[in-house]
Symmetry: C2
Subunit: 103 residues, 2 copies
């Protein structure tokens, strides 16, 4: 047993991606952000679909083809493969913990 | 966007299972318990692996082959296919919300 809110990395100079579960088809990750955002230019353009939920903290996602979405704890969204997106903002003073399922 | 803590079912006479995401290989479910537990006799014996996290509330899982595990918010555990288990207890006074990934 483990807890998604515990054993947080101490070095958060950059976002931290941790694999929770991985099979041939899927990967489940914990992502920890603290004030991080994607670079101004460029987008994430992923091969896989992503279902992502904010577990704690707050974050804003931007999309090439639709309006920004701000997520608080418990909010989840599906980002289809190749839907271009980026992290526009994450809370600066506390960790934002994400659970992301790539499938 | 949706929130895992919101739009809870009002009828909780029995546990409620809701599909969040389903593909040929995986299913992601929200499960809501309120004082429910599995029948005294018999075990869940599942074809698929299950990764399960308690999002809110508290619950105890029993296993045929190992000690009970009590889960609070953020705790997660993997139950391999065919590991016989049951829900021994869930908090009686508030909803226990589970996120379960069958893979």
């Amino acid at each position: 047993m483990a807890n998604i809110f515990e054993s947080l990395p101490t070095n958060l100079e950059s976002e931290v991606f941790e694999s929770i579960l991985k099979t041939d088809n899927i990967e489940l990750e914990r992502i920890i952000s603290k004030g991080h955002k994607s670079p101004e230019s460029g987008w994430y353009d992923q091969e896989k679909n992503e279902w992502v939920m904010v577990m704690s903290g707050c974050a804003t996602l931007s999309f090439e083809d639709k309006a920004d979405v701000t997520l608080k704890a418990g909010d989840y969204i599906t980002i289809p493969a190749h839907q271009k997106h980026k992290v526009a903002w994450t809370a600066p003073d506390s960790e934002t913990i994400w659970l992301a399922l790539f499938y």
